[in-house]
């Protein structure tokens, strides 16, 4: 008998068996649940997007139906007997049988594939690429447990699993949980007291509303977004120098605080610059994609690293919004998911048209001052308006540094005719520009100046290249020098993290009336650049407050408001052509491509512009199947510690399936339509549910049934994140500086951490309460992030990372036990215990526990703390040298205080304290 006939016989035999053993599956086969797993696990690694062994790929139907290299068809719809696939998987010879070097497929699997081909071998879209159903019906379950509709979905699955929900957590545990979840901080003492004092069914909701309205809400969610956006205060790569991009972090905090709808949040970050007449803040939002690394190393190819940044933008955008691992499509079609090689470069084409080009100055940038600084600038400008005749409006309004005309002015405006002026000009804020790197011989003219009563002239400058000189001439560029001014070298050039503007001045003879002044810069030793010239200032004894204004102006000029890198589209005549990179090699170009989105997803509306703005609008188009699902899942994961789809970063076929598919779709659909993309509404929906409010205690039985809490028969119990942990220690001890917004700070860090990197920057601990600001403001250097962050599982932020893998290590214990911040927190907490906690040690210990956990310790726990207190007080009483080592010889150095510090240190290390319960 020929092999083929044998196979036909075998298959029909199997078919009959199928009929006997699996009668229910004589019905239609479901590709996604029954077939796709078989193909993914057994076939696609050799017959998918990467390898097409034997000329066969089973990723797309049209490919799978093509003849293979052998000329045979792997799959012939409706004709199992002609389908080579079925012959090969059931082959008697292990050499011929597919998959090779593996166990053969089970009879059930073979049967399913046979039936599937018999029914026409239909491919079905993977669940995550299917459109959201806007009308998901709520499960028909009833129970007094249900508080919100969300609970219905949870209860239905619990019932299916034979599980029942846990009782509600006690109110104070719940208050701490929801505070940490919504603001990243434990509730304040006052909040706890008011919560306890006014018990009512509405108290919880009132607390939730207060937390949602807190300015700390935005800080907590900015932390999440910073990991995704790969935020850092440095440029990355070898030297990893400073980057000024904290204003973007402020933008994110503010956006969350204002509850900016997530669609707008998306559009402004991806394409704020392409909106009509974008505001300063919309431009700032685009710094989101300037968080890519920038390589300043000598000898590197800027284009290579520009390309690498653009690729990172594609990957990051698709990971954050689409939960899609598009990165592998860079080199070849996706091995498992329906994304083609070319489609990566169509997405690339959206991003390939921005002006940034891996330049050391991070061009293009936006100059921004803080609101407070801007107010001060305003004051100075109005002072100028009162004292000077040149209208402010004549100043250029452009934000960008590559303007060909260079302007500069000081409290007294002056127009500049400057030749030659190399490089870009600088700008400090609205109306304050200055000259960068002016070269030897540059002459600046100031016209029509009223010099009546003016008796001195000051120049404000920066310059590190040896001593420069300014010659002052009156009325004629070649006139005799009126006076000369020496410019001693200063410590810094612009662009370093601390500006150090200096002032040099000279008396000039009083000239009555209107004149022109010419300032000529020179430097004998370095003709390339003499100085950064901020402006000059004329002083006359008559303007009484001039000195003060000048002082203020100089202060302002020393603020590192800086240039935030932003996105800016190239003009049409300068736009780049995008080509496929063969096998991902940026030097090997394939076909030219144009902006477009992957075929498997919602189509790109024809009325959308084919640029980043169009892409951003497409991402948040209600028909996009992924964005709402992926985003809702991210917020869910932050609250419950595990996503409804566990693989936040991968909604593709290799990712995990949703535990509650209907609930995910219902939440996603509500997020778009009912909640209109308002994150606060979404979060309130979640935290008001009975599901969220459950106690997190677990029985051995439930733990065995559901170790990871996928079915939500209990509340979340998760170790705090690095930020929450440190913030909580600072908050409970009263050290926390609750200031919102602002530049990054450098809290205490062990010496020598940064020495490992080339000496480009120095860790200079911040002064005063800045050391105790919330952890998200800690200066983030990508090559050496803050050690506590790294010890508690933060990523380095070189690339987008969706999930922090929670570990439990001895180095974490050493951090919370011994790190100087945690010790300072213990000292401050001990102080509060002593001062506010009552007269007996026992009361003081309970108070310390209360300050961190918002509730009294159980009597057993209190007894254990008492015992430890007695041990330590005996120790410090008997060993005064230990006491002195801990506290020095001050008058407050008592064994009692020393013991309280140790108890506070213990409290800050308790599992229940470092865990959200």
């Amino acid at each position: 008998m020929s092999r083929l006939l044998l196979m036909i016989f075998l298959i029909s035999f199997l078919g009959m068996m199928g009929f006997v053993f699996w009668p229910s599956q004589a019905d239609s086969i479901d590709f996604n649940t029954q077939i796709r797993p078989i193909l993914n696990n057994n076939c696609l690694s050799c017959h998918g997007g990467v390898k097409k062994n034997g000329g066969l790929s089973m990723l797309f139907r049209e490919e799978a139906l093509l003849p293979t290299k052998s000329g045979k068809h792997a799959i012939v719809p409706f004709h199992p007997e002609q389908s080579e696939l079925l012959h090969r998987i059931a082959h008697h010879d292990p050499e011929e049988r597919m998959p090779p070097e593996s166990d053969p497929l089970t009879q059930e699997q073979i049967h399913l594939l046979t039936k599937w081909i018999e029914q026409g071998a239909k491919w079905e879209t993977h669940w995550a690429y299917q459109a959201l159903n806007p009308q998901i019906s709520l499960p028909e379950v009833s129970s007094s447990w249900i508080r919100t509709d969300l609970d219905r979905f949870v209860l239905e699955s619990l019932q299916e699993e034979g599980l029942s929900p846990s009782e509600e957590a006690d109110p104070l545990t719940l208050l701490r949980r929801v505070s940490l979840d919504l603001t990243g901080l434990p509730p304040s003492q006052k909040e706890v007291e008011s919560f306890v004092a006014h018990p009512s069914p509405e108290a919880y909701e009132q607390a939730v509303d207060r937390l949602l309205a807190s300015p700390h809400f935005g800080e907590r969610w900015a932390s999440m977004w910073m990991d995704l956006a790969r935020y850092g205060d440095s440029q990355g790569y070898q030297k990893d120098p400073a980057r000024n991009i904290w204003r973007w972090r402020d933008w994110v905090i503010h956006a969350f605080n204002e509850d900016m709808p997530f669609d707008q949040f998306t559009i402004e970050q991806i394409a704020g610059d392409l909106l009509e007449a974008p505001s300063d803040l919309q431009l700032l939002a685009t710094a989101f994609h300037r968080n890519t690394m920038n390589n300043d190393e000598g000898g590197t190819d800027n284009e290579e690293f520009r390309v690498s940044a653009v690729i990172d933008r594609v990957n990051t955008t698709f990971e954050i919004w689409q939960g899609t691992t598009i990165g592998c499509v860079q080199c070849h079609s996706h091995p498992y998911d329906p994304f083609r090689h070319k489609e990566f470069y169509q997405l690339y084409a959206f991003f390939n048209n921005t002006a940034d080009a891996d330049r050391p100055d991070e061009f293009p940038t936006e100059f921004l001052m803080s609101p407070a600084q801007e107010a001060e600038v305003g004051e100075i400008i109005s002072w100028i308006a009162d004292h000077d005749s040149i209208p402010i409006d004549d100043l250029p309004g452009s934000l960008f540094a590559d303007e060909s005309v260079v302007w500069s002015h000081s409290p007294f405006n002056f127009a500049v005719s400057c030749d030659p002026c190399g490089g870009a000009n600088g700008r400090l804020g609205d109306g304050f520009e200055y000259l960068r790197r002016i070269s030897s011989g540059t002459q600046i003219r100031y016209s029509n100046l009223d010099l009546t009563a003016v008796d001195s002239l000051f120049v404000q400058y920066l310059g590190g290249n040896g001593s420069g000189r300014v010659d002052i001439r009156l009325d004629n560029p070649t006139a005799q020098v009126l006076r000369s001014l020496q410019l001693p070298p200063t410590n810094a050039w612009y662009g370093q993290s601390v500006l150090d503007w200096k002032e040099a001045g000279t008396a000039i003879p009083v000239q009555d009336g209107i004149h022109d002044l010419y300032l000529t810069f020179s430097n004998e030793t370095n003709k390339g650049s003499v100085a950064d010239f901020l402006g000059f200032y004329l002083q006359s004894s008559s303007a009484a407050d001039a000195h003060q204004v000048r002082k203020k102006f100089l202060q302002l000029a020393t603020v590192d408001a800086g240039k935030t890198p932003i996105m800016r589209e190239l003009s049409p005549e300068n736009s780049r052509t995008s080509r496929v990179f063969e096998r991902g090699n940026w030097l090997v170009h394939g076909d030219t491509v144009y902006p477009n989105v992957p075929q498997v997803l919602n189509s790109f509306p024809t009325d959308f512009p084919a640029n980043r703005l169009g892409l951003a609008k497409w991402l948040v188009h209600p028909e996009n199947p992924l964005t709402a699902r992926v985003i809702v899942n991210r917020f869910w994961e932050q609250m419950f510690g595990i996503g409804l789809v566990e693989t936040l970063e991968d909604f593709g076929t290799q990712g995990e399936k949703p535990s509650h598919p209907d609930m995910l779709d219902w939440l996603a659909s509500n997020f778009i339509h009912q909640q209109q993309w308002h994150v606060k509404h979404l979060l309130k929906e979640i935290v008001m549910s009975a599901t969220y409010r459950q106690s997190s205690a677990v029985t051995a039985d439930l733990l065995e049934r559901d170790p990871a809490n996928r079915w939500l028969a209990r509340g979340p119990r998760i170790r705090l994140s690095a930020e929450q942990l440190r913030d909580q220690a600072l908050a409970s001890s009263g050290l926390l500086d609750t200031k919102v917004y602002g530049p990054s700070v450098m809290p205490s860090q062990p010496d020598g951490i940064w020495q490992v990197i080339r000496n480009v920057m120095k860790w200079t601990p911040s002064e005063g309460s800045s050391r105790y600001r919330r952890t998200l403001y800690t200066y983030w250097r990508r090559s050496s992030p803050y050690p506590t962050m790294m010890t508690f599982d933060a990523p380095s932020r070189e690339f987008c990372v969706s999930r922090r893998v929670r570990t439990n290590t001895p180095l974490q214990a050493l951090t919370t036990l011994n790190d100087s911040t945690f010790i300072e927190a213990a000292e401050a907490l001990a102080n509060r215990m002593q001062v506010e906690g009552g007269s007996t040690p026992s009361d003081q210990l309970k108070y310390g526990y209360y300050l961190t956990m918002n509730k009294a310790p159980s009597p057993e726990k209190a007894a254990i703390l008492d015992q430890f207190y007695l041990q330590t007080i005996a120790h410090y009483s008997q060993q005064p040298e230990e006491l002195e080592a801990l506290l020095g010889s001050s008058s407050s150095a008592s064994p009692e205080y020393a013991s309280l510090i140790n108890v506070a240190n213990v409290i800050l290390n308790l599992d229940e304290v470092i865990t959200k319960e």
């Binding site: 070097e101 990165g327 991968d650 559901d706 062990p750 490992v756 070189e798 439990n808």
Partner: protein
């Protein structure tokens, strides 16, 4: 007699089964680290791996080496003055470099047509193997019969930071896990009281690639190398604050654990038990780390052997520390000694200046480490690797088209010498050969990815199977390259 064919078949089946097991096993590790296997499979063991990601795990096949000591000479020493003896290069000394060396090549600093530079030292042949060693290594020549020289190693990179990253992460830019991180991820740590991957830095400063050379890249950060510092705490926060002594700390940890026990009884979260054990481990580390770092109790003859002086930051001290860590079953011990960048542009960077000092700094300790490991029976199970991130050119550097004030050589990626010893590598061999000027490898070349594949192989890991899924792709140390250099294996 058993049918040979049948035996072969059985062997093959056994191989396939083992390979299958190993492959699934390693993928499982990755999945466990991400917690994504929860809910299916063996939950208990998944949970325990989640709790302790550093728990020791079996290799894929019987390892020849239990641990690695990698002596990285950061800055890249000149192979032409140390091991790759090229008498013919003498003859060309001072002559123009032939075009064939320059065509299509990029150099870091050489411009135009440089002059050739003959060996700046003399060589001898030593040991039964008759290996060439420079007179600059009078001590090291005693142990050449323990060493396998790789004379034709080559790399893709010719600048320090990218080449160092390439050597340690298999990729020239930041973001990938280092070899030690991969090994910790794959095999865990044998010593629960010390980190499994430690880094010791000496010389001019830290290597130019910075911490990324021992980072965890996209692997969980728990796998990154822990730098044991010689100033301040050897491990961050390992010391108690002043005025909190070890007794008090012990009582504190007992107090924490007692309350945590109560909490466990109340809420049943097994994570609490794990936390209790991590605190106890932290307490033990506070003892074991300083103890391991304390050289003062080493006998005088050991100090003499290595040339160590307790309290210093030196390569000698770090070599002795490496032995102490090896004795304590630390899996991956990474040393960096920087200051080899002999361009000739100043005295420090000169073959007749800083280079000689560096040689003196490493010569005795290298010898001592090999002898000491051997006399303790540890050499067989410890794989030593020595080398820079690339080599130096046979041409004299002419930065800016000018004659440099000192003798120096530019960066050279085509061929350089590394050596390996112990850990299942053949002793007393020389593998690979360069042309008569030491420019190109002409026989038995070893690419950096091959070296990495070989190191993993000696630890019982198949380099193609130690993978981690990130951004939709399975990554590995050797990217899509690398072949085990079987010819050098014993």
């Amino acid at each position: 007699m058993k049918d040979l064919f049948q035996e072969l078949h059985e062997q093959h089946q056994a191989y396939l089964t083992r390979r299958h097991f190993v492959q699934k096993g390693l993928m499982g590790l990755g999945a466990m680290a991400l917690g994504s296997l929860l809910g299916c499979g063996d939950q208990a063991s998944n949970l325990s791996a989640l709790k302790n990601p550093l728990i020791a795990r079996a290799a894929q096949f019987a390892p020849k080496a239990k641990r690695i000591i990698f002596l990285h000479m950061a800055g890249a020493p000149s192979q032409l003055e140390l091991f790759d003896f090229k008498p013919d290069l003498h003859k060309l000394d001072g002559q123009d470099c032939p075009d064939s060396f320059l065509e299509g090549k990029r150099f870091a600093f050489i411009e135009g047509v440089p002059k050739m530079l003959g060996p700046q030292t003399t060589f001898g042949r030593y040991g039964e193997s008759g290996a060439y060693v420079s007179e600059l290594f009078p001590h090291f020549k005693e142990v050449v019969d323990e060493v396998a020289f790789l004379k034709a190693v080559h790399t893709d990179e010719f600048n320090h930071a990218p080449a160092q990253l390439f050597m340690h992460t298999g990729f020239p830019r930041q973001g990938r896990p280092s070899m030690g991180a991969w090994v910790s991820y794959g095999l865990g740590s044998e010593n629960a009281n010390l980190p499994g991957f430690v880094v010791l830095v000496s010389g001019q400063s830290a290597p130019s690639a910075g911490k990324s050379a021992w980072g965890s890249g996209f692997l969980p950060s728990v796998y990154q190398g822990v730098q044991l510092r010689s100033q301040g705490d050897p491990v961050l926060n390992v010391s108690n604050p002043d005025g909190i002594n070890r007794d008090i700390r012990k009582q504190a940890i007992e107090t924490i654990s007692q309350i945590n026990q109560l909490q466990y009884q109340e809420v049943g979260d097994p994570e609490i038990l794990s936390r209790i054990s991590q605190y106890e481990l932290a307490y033990r580390m506070q003892m074991t780390v300083p103890e391991a770092m304390d050289l003062s109790k080493e006998p005088a003859y050991i100090h003499e052997l290595y040339g160590t002086q307790p309290g210093q930051t030196s390569f000698a001290n770090n070599c002795l520390l490496a032995r102490r860590l090896a004795e304590r079953d630390v899996r991956f011990i990474q040393l960096f000694h920087r200051g080899w960048d002999s361009h000739g542009s100043n005295e420090f960077e000169a073959l007749e200046g800083g280079f000689l000092k560096r040689c003196k700094e490493v010569d005795r300790p290298m010898m001592a480490l090999i002898k000491d490991l051997k006399q303790r029976g540890l050499l067989d199970e410890t794989l030593l690797i020595w080398g820079g991130e690339f080599g130096r050119t046979p041409m004299r550097e002419n930065r800016g088209g000018k004659v440099a004030p000192f003798n120096g050589r530019d960066h050279h990626s085509e061929a350089f010498t590394m050596w390996m010893a112990g850990g299942g590598v053949k002793a007393g061999i020389t593998y690979g050969e360069t042309d008569e000027f030491g420019y190109f490898g002409i026989k038995d070349k070893v690419h950096v990815h091959d070296l990495q594949a070989t190191i993993l192989h000696q630890l019982g890991i198949h380099h193609e199977q130690l993978t981690y899924e990130f951004q939709g792709r399975r990554f590995r140390l050797t990217d899509v390259h690398g072949h085990v250099v079987h010819d050098i294996l014993a």
